[in-house]
């Protein structure tokens, strides 16, 4: 049932600062794009009627983009975090072992 015993001690996370800083940067990128969507609507929602890609109007395209971009950004974030975790946490473990 994929309900497995918890890791009792996962040790300190040496990648925590990196992940936090990366998270803030990615949050700012997404927040700016989200703010762009809000600002265009606030200026004049009729701007969103213009056809852009595949016959979609800007409103539908921008909405879908915000949803899909969130997922892509999340996957990219996970890839970078996992890589850094493997790099920092394993090197610290081996340093600890050699001591």
């Amino acid at each position: 049932m994929l309900h497995e015993p918890a890791n009792q001690d996962t040790g300190p996370d040496h990648a925590a600062d990196y992940k936090s800083s990366l998270g803030v940067k990615m949050f700012i990128i997404y927040a700016l794009i989200y703010a762009g969507f809000v600002v265009i609507n606030v200026i004049d929602p009729n701007i969103m009627k213009v056809k852009v890609v595949l016959g979609m109007n800007l409103a539908v395209f921008y909405g879908f983009f915000l949803i899909i971009f969130a997922l892509l950004l999340a996957l990219f974030y996970n890839m970078l975090c996992s890589k850094k975790e493997a790099e920092l946490n394993s090197s610290n473990k081996s340093e600890g072992a050699s001591k």
Binding site: M1, L2, H3, E4, P5, A6, N7, T10, D13, A16, K19, S20, G23, V24, M26, F27, Y30, A31, Y34, F37, V38, N41, V42, D44, P45, N46, M48, K49, L54, G55, M56, N57, A59, V60, G63, F64, L66, I67, I68, A70, L71, L73, A74, L75, Y77, N78, C81, S82, E85
Partner: protein, 662 residues
């Protein structure tokens, strides 16, 4: 047996079985409140979706898209965007700092009684605001879907959820949410494929008797005979005397109840020119025959207080309040009445075409003596206007009117609250404690984003499907089940059962969050009872039973009250009170316990205070003209969120010395 009842019963049987199975794992506090921190990230990710996609998401957003077009989809965009805040800012720190509840994380370096109390109260407030609409929703759903009375639906959900939570706490709740989330996404996908396969048509149902304007024709046909008798019975019952000619003025329109060309009906009086309107009246119960809506069959010996187009009816809803009247012409300039199967982009492009005409029936609610009357006027709108903002939000801006400051402010506030609210909902945050480590918290959030993103894309097609297939009911929230009905009883039964299961999943999460706030935050930590592990579980289970019973009572008491605004309260309080505290605690070292407490209090009071004096509440709760409200916007986020941040900074700076002394 009703197939919807059978499917729902099977779902309930399965989750109750799982609850029994997992009960043994809930003997420790960690097992009960956080599923022992042992849930696989993939299960947790889908459970997140099951927890988050409440009735408001499934029924509310689809209904709003069906009635207001693109403006409903804004909620999908905002709700999903909120998960970005959860992933990039909150997910891993919450897992590292907390243990069982949201208050644990806020209080992890202070051990402050103030934070424990304020965070527990904020958790309970948000959970109760969220809980009431879910329970009332269960009652509203149960009548048309399963055929039971309101209180039966509320009690059924309450009892099942109490059982789920009181047996195995967060473990059984996790699997209920996992199953519900997976079923919701799978069957919503099936429904969207069916919608696209059917395509668009100017006569999608081919059932003339269900069309609103056809009710007028029905009234015409009956005018000389049956309907006339019914009207006479109604007039006697309403104590109307003399000529049948009542006038109502609503929103600048003049409606006249008159006998015109042999038909007693409500008419739109436009400079003396009368247009017959569909209408619905709720009157004192009439001892009369009732006509079945579809078959036209007369059912003897029943009573009804629902009069639709002059005829007493068993049902009390007008259905089919929206349809496509004109489709764009084809490449040869020929008229198109049916498109056949469509791809997703074609479907959206046709609906957003300026040649597409959509007819919607706008309700005008009036009081005529002792009767409550709703007359419906036809409103033709082109596709390009339906598929952009401006029909619910930014109305003045879209129409190029002046004095649009508050219109814009309201929209920005809404989008800000949606963005900031998700990552601060206590029943969502506690899911971070159910996984083994921070990496699992991150991965489960990403899976949740994928599942929820996919579902929110589907909501656009579900809502527009209801709009196009002429099945939008007066209660827009029923749009998604009604569009399923177009494809047969089986799909309708499945979607109905899932809609009901949706309530179960979300209510379970809310009750776990509330029981944690009571047993762990208030009793154990704030009141200093220092309970043993075993006693904490007992306290948690008793709290769950108590909150469940209160939820049942509130769900029954609030039956007749429009409670959808309470979800807005929950989001506003979460975004204004909880998020500033979490963010500042993580990123500003000078944050103090006093600053956090002040921020929670100011955020809660400001958000709730502004909502209580907003036009929507005047209109829907106080039944007073919204233009008389003390403020001109409905969403408080643009004021309450920054104010909460400022309060935290100012109070923290003022209490630096105290913090150092401690």
């Amino acid at each position: 047996m009703n197939p919807a009842v059978m499917i729902f019963a099977a779902f309930v049987g399965l989750v109750l079985g799982l609850s029994f199975y997992f009960a043994r794992k809930a003997k420790s506090a960690s097992g009960y409140f956080a599923a022992g921190g042992s849930v696989h990230w993939a299960v947790n990710g889908i459970a997140f979706a099951g927890d988050y996609l409440s009735a408001a998401s499934f029924l509310g957003i689809c209904g709003l898209i069906a009635t207001k077009g693109y403006d409903g989809f804004l909620y999908s965009i905002g709700y999903l965007a909120g998960w970005i805040v959860a992933l990039f800012v909150v997910a891993e720190p919450m897992k590292r700092m907390g243990k069982y509840t949201f208050a644990d994380a806020l209080d992890y370096k202070f051990n402050s009684k103030g934070i424990q109390l304020a965070a527990a109260i904020s958790t309970l407030a948000v959970s109760i605001f969220y809980l009431i609409p879910q329970m009332v929703g269960a009652g509203i759903l149960v009548t048309p879907l399963l055929g039971y009375e309101h209180w039966v639906g509320v009690t059924l959900v309450g009892v099942v959820v109490i059982f789920i939570v009181a047996t195995a706490g967060m473990t059984s709740t996790t699997y209920v949410q996992f199953l519900k989330g997976a079923l919701l996404i799978i069957f919503s996908s099936v429904l969207v494929v069916a919608i696209l396969n059917k395509g668009l048509s100017t006569d999608p149902r081919g059932v003339q008797s269900d069309r609103v304007e056809e009710h007028v024709a029905v009234a015409d046909m009956k005018a000389q005979g049956y309907a006339k008798q019914q009207e006479q019975a109604l007039q006697a019952n309403n104590k109307r005397t003399g000529e049948v000619e009542d006038l109502l003025i609503h929103g600048g329109k003049v409606f006249k109840y008159a006998d015109q060309a042999g038909c007693v009906s409500w008419w739109l009086d436009h400079d003396g020119q009368l247009t017959k309107l569909p209408y619905k009246a709720t009157t004192a119960e009439v001892q009369t025959q009732v006509i079945d809506k579809v078959t036209g069959e007369v059912i003897e010996g029943e009573t009804s207080s629902n009069i639709i187009n002059g005829i007493a009816r068993k049902d009390d809803e007008m259905i089919g309040l929206s349809r496509i009247k004109t489709l764009p012409v084809d490449a040869d300039g020929k008229e198109v009445t049916e498109t056949g199967s469509l791809g997703p982009f074609e479907f959206l492009n046709i609906l957003s075409d300026e040649q597409t005409e959509i007819e919607q029936w706008k309700p005008h609610r009036c009081v005529d003596g002792e009767d409550h009357v709703i007359v419906f006027t036809s409103n033709l709108v082109t596709g390009d206007k339906v598929m952009v903002s401006g029909r619910k939000f930014l109305k003045k801006v879209a129409e190029g009117k002046e004095d649009t400051f508050w219109d814009r402010m309201d929209f920005m506030s809404l989008m800000l609250a949606l963005f900031c609210g998700t990552a601060a909902l206590p029943h969502i945050l506690i899911r971070y404690y159910t996984v083994p480590d921070a990496a699992s918290a991150r991965k489960s959030t990403i899976l949740a984003i994928g599942a929820i993103a996919f579902f929110y894309v589907l909501t656009l097609f579900l809502g527009l499907g209801a709009l196009a297939f002429e099945v939008v009911p007066e209660n827009g929230n029923m749009a998604a089940p009604m569009v399923a009905k177009v494809f047969g009883v089986t799909l309708f039964a499945i979607i109905s059962a899932i809609a009901f299961a949706t309530v179960l999943g979300t209510v379970s999460g809310l009750i776990v969050a509330s029981s944690g706030a009571i047993a762990h935050d208030l009793m154990d930590r704030y009141m200093g009872m220092n309970m043993s592990d075993e006693k904490k579980v007992i306290a948690g289970k008793l709290s769950a039973v108590g909150v469940g019973i209160i939820a049942i009572i509130l769900g029954i008491l609030f039956e007749k009250v429009n409670v959808t605004f309470l979800v807005g309260w929950a989001f506003a309080v979460a975004a204004s009170a909880n998020l500033p505290s979490i963010v500042m605690l993580l990123f500003w070292k000078k944050t103090t316990a006093s600053g956090i407490v002040a921020s929670i209090v100011v955020g809660t009071v400001t958000a709730l205070g502004l909502i209580l004096i907003s036009p929507n509440i005047y209109d829907k709760v106080y039944n007073v003209d919204g233009s008389l409200a003390l403020i001109s916007f409905n969403n408080p986020g643009m004021i309450s969120i920054p104010l909460s941040f400022i309060t935290l900074v100012v109070v923290s700076l003022m209490t630096q010395k105290d913090a150092k002394a401690e």
